[in-house]
Symmetry: C2
Subunit: 173 residues, 2 copies
DNA sequence: CGGAATTTGATATGATGGATAACAATTATC
DNA sequence: GATAATTGTTATCCATCATATCAAATTCCG
């Protein structure tokens, strides 16, 4: 497995075709065979994940939100009154790395840190009004563009089955 | 979405429980709710992918192979006579990044670069005997431990369906 | 109470993966 | 033969991930 984003050369401009390969022939000489790679679940899993994240970024591009940032906003909205450690742990983010991430969101006025009165070590995280508004718009974009496209490709039943299996792997594997 | 590896604090040692939370209570105060996150395919996809890669690393640990390295060896075995660009492109690895990766494999005598006689710019990649041997052992480990475990969890039919949907997403999305 | 251990947010730092620009050598094109 | 393209490579940059460490605040427990 390996799987990054750039699978196709994709030269944009089509200048002088200085190639042995025939014009736009997908299988230039003889196509490389994936072989057992196509049976490796991890390989397809990684490639699919990259595609999904890529599409997510496109769909929510007007709001400039990454999947990670979106998940943070979602959690803050759903779980008010939590501190950094709790949110970070839930998302599998290490606390040191969560600091810069929050700095980014806070500098854009999407959320804020408030010193807890109970425990003055911790910061209670809250969504700002702007944060809530952005989140709502993001949710609509994701539902209307991103998830809808998945439904078109797989069909609702398959999509549900896929989600179920992925969740099972994530939780029980 | 976000999803890294460290989801659970996992302190190894269980010292003095200086916590408000009850002992090993998973839901400390009140559990944080994922909410709509659990319906986001990308979220489960990422978490599942991390789990799978993690398990792959464990299963193939005796051979010290990463998923990426394994995929390279697989491709070299299946497609003899190819150069760096072809292999890298197939796996979605950018050529510049593929150089160091090959250096690693070559320094361990798992593969070798041979100057092509036709085109003296390119390096034909070949598996060494050791590389072939390691690959065979890796394949057995993956089949016996990694993929077998997935079969146990999902069942053969579900596993096939999952692979099919992931491939579809990877190729058509 | 008071000292020891913990927790929290934060900083610094390193490792790794991914992406782009640029270069020399070589080859293809015209 | 001159120009353009390709190949492998280096040098960077950026983002993600991971660890050690720290000061402040809190908890634990004798």
């Amino acid at each position: 497995m390996t799987v990054s984003k750039a699978a196709a050369p994709e030269t944009t401009k089509a200048p002088r075709p200085a190639r042995k390969e025939l014009a736009d022939n997908g299988a230039a000489d003889t196509a490389i065979e994936l072989g057992e790679l196509s049976e490796l679940l991890g390989y397809s899993l990684k490639r699919a994940q990259l595609k999904i994240f890529e599409d997510f970024l496109r769909c929510v591009a007007p709001l400039q939100l990454t999947p990670a940032q979106f998940s943070v906003l979602l959690l803050l909205d759903r779980n008010p009154g939590r501190n950094q450690t709790e949110i970070a742990n839930t998302l599998g983010i290490l606390r040191p790395n969560f600091v810069a991430m929050l700095d980014g969101l806070e500098s854009r006025d999407l959320c804020a840190r408030m010193r807890s009165t109970n425990d003055r070590r911790s910061h209670i995280l809250v969504l700002t009004d702007k944060g809530r508004a952005v989140l709502m718009r993001a949710k609509k974009l994701v539902a209307a563009k991103h998830e809808a496209r998945l439904n078109d490709l797989l069909g609702p039943a398959n999509r549900a089955a896929l989600l179920s299996m992925l969740t099972k792997i994530a939780e029980e594997f």
